[in-house]
């Protein structure tokens, strides 16, 4: 889950009362206890895009904002970030990025594969703008460099927490769609490089041999009440 961030360390004064924010240029008074997403809804906006799980997992609610008197561009997930006084907000409905089609079964886990589908990766300037905006605190530039170096395993592991919000891609001066590159790296890693655990084959064989058939039949025959009872009393780790 995304780390809940309040961008300003010094200006976080109060969590009660109202704050003044600007949404697409218009001023609103909203309670200081709201997230950006809830504040925009409070102000009367309704999300049909740019909103999803509301829990920091899905990456749909990327937001770009500035603060009054501050030249910097800030980014966040709207569902995970509290409003602050003087925020100038808008919500991104979608991040446009090209996404080539490939058959994962016919690829090799190499730098050349990455460059074949995303040649722009070679344009990386190492400016690190992508890592700075990442709401997941991923070292985005590092994994782009790992993939350029053919270190697919490192690229996959560094990018593992990516929620594909796309903020990296909109800040990149080299116009790289980092989050799509990361997805390709993780697919290559999973398909060709990760060592499959030995118990996976055993478990698949058990399933094919019908070891769990009787158990499933038993569960399917239970009433809703009985199922709930079983669920409540299940083994927990």
């Amino acid at each position: 889950m995304s780390k809940a961030k309040t961008e300003s360390k010094n200006t976080k004064k109060e969590t009660t009362g109202n704050v003044k924010i600007y949404i697409m240029g218009s001023a609103y008074e909203v309670p200081a206890t709201l997230t950006i997403m809830k504040a925009m809804e409070y102000a009367g906006y309704k999300f049909t895009r740019g909103s999803g799980c509301r829990a920091g997992f899905c990456g749909a609610c990327s937001t770009v904002y500035r603060k009054e008197g501050d030249f910097r561009i800030y980014t966040a997930l709207a569902c995970q970030t509290m409003v602050e006084d003087g925020m100038v907000l808008t919500q991104l409905p979608f991040v446009p990025a090209d996404k080539p089609t490939y058959d994962i079964n016919n690829l090799t886990p190499s730098a050349n594969t990455i460059l074949r589908f995303y040649p722009e990766v070679a344009r990386c300037l190492s400016c690190n703008a992508c890592s700075k905006v990442c709401p997941q605190d991923i070292q985005v530039m590092d994994y782009i460099q790992f993939s350029l170096q053919g270190q697919i395993d490192k690229a996959a592991e560094e990018s593992f927490d990516c929620v594909s919000c796309g903020l990296c891609a909109i800040r990149c001066p080299a116009e790289i769609p980092q989050y799509h590159v990361a997805e390709l790296a993780r697919r290559l890693y999973g398909k060709y490089l990760m060592i499959a655990p030995s118990y996976l084959d055993e478990r698949i064989k058990e399933i094919i041999d019908g070891k769990y058939e009787d158990g499933f039949k038993e569960l399917m025959a239970l009433s809703k009440e009985k199922l709930e009872e079983r669920y409540k009393n299940r083994d927990k780790e």
Partner: protein
């Protein structure tokens, strides 16, 4: 044991794995270990000639800053960042000297690196591994570690352009270099001089016009073979790629029968120091060096 902060560069992880693995192996043997920087980025090649294009210089300065941090974590290390690829060596050296003589330039670049706590203060030296071998280790020590002298190897040193130019980046005299010669001799091999030791390999023309590269490679190889060489020693992955690949191309296109294998200097060292032959990744070469090893009954 001295530890060096080692910057690989992209080629050492892709096309030139044998270069890296053999160099690391011999570095350990020589008690001057190359330890990879954990999170390195592109060196910033090709170096831009536009003096005020600072965006293109962020990458090399970040490399220097990260290496500086790495040096602090290493035990018994020097203030050097060591490279194997002569292209990386050149880019890093040039930028390092640019920001040293122009602190204003460095200040602007550092502004970009500030938030990442990766600012640089011109306190690193860029060294090619060949310089470490020559200046810090010495050829006598290298010769001492040789267990299988390279008898019958007739090697032409090929420097290419990046090791000897420009002034800020060169590791040896641009007209009369000797580092590869001395190294090859210390391994028990014979040096075969070729006047085309820095004749352009064709470089990046390989991407757009292969024929240019083929013509260059033919001249370089012929010049070495005519003088009796049976191998070429290089330090640049791009030279190696062009010389190796285009010899194969020449054989296919023109029916040319003879070719000579291209060795990275570190591969020759690894052979002479008795490292397992597999670390050289000879299977990646188009002109397989193992044929020469067999001919010379080198085991």
């Amino acid at each position: 044991m001295v530890n060096y902060s080692y910057f690989p560069g992209c080629n050492l992880k892709t096309n030139a794995k044998g270069f890296e693995k053999s160099a690391i192996a011999v570095s350990k043997k020589l008690e001057a270990e190359l330890v990879e920087i954990p999170n390195w980025n592109c060196c910033g090649t090709v170096h831009t000639m536009t003096a005020d294009n600072l965006m293109k210089r962020i990458a090399p300065v970040r490399v220097l800053a990260r290496s500086r941090k790495h040096v602090e974590e290493l035990e018994n290390s020097s203030q050097d960042i060591v490279t194997l690829c002569s292209m990386c060596n050149s880019t890093l050296k040039i930028v390092n000297s640019e920001v040293l003589v122009d602190p204003e330039k460095l200040e602007v670049i550092n502004f970009q690196l500030e938030d990442d706590e990766e600012t640089y203060s011109s306190d690193m030296e860029v060294k090619h591994f060949l310089e470490i071998l020559r200046d810090n280790i010495g050829f006598a020590k290298i010769a001492n570690k040789v267990v299988k002298p390279l008898k019958g190897f007739k090697v032409t040193p090929y420097y290419g352009c990046m090791l000897l130019h420009p002034e800020e980046a060169k590791i040896d005299d641009e007209e009369m270099p000797s580092v590869l010669e001395n190294l090859i001799e210390s391994l028990g091999a014979e040096v075969v001089f070729s006047p085309l030791f820095k004749y352009c390999c064709g470089s990046y023309h390989i991407v757009s016009d292969e024929d240019i590269v083929t013509r260059q490679v033919q001249k370089i190889i012929d010049s070495a073979m005519i003088r009796g060489a049976n191998a070429l020693a290089v330090a640049c992955p791009l030279c190696a790629y062009n010389l190796d690949q285009q010899q194969k191309m020449l054989m296919e296109k023109t029916g040319k029968k003879e070719a000579i294998p291209i060795f990275y200097f570190s591969q020759l060292m690894a052979l002479a120091m008795g490292e397992p032959v597999e670390i050289n990744h000879f299977e990646d070469h188009k002109i397989d060096p193992r044929i020469l090893l067999k001919e010379l009954k080198f085991k």
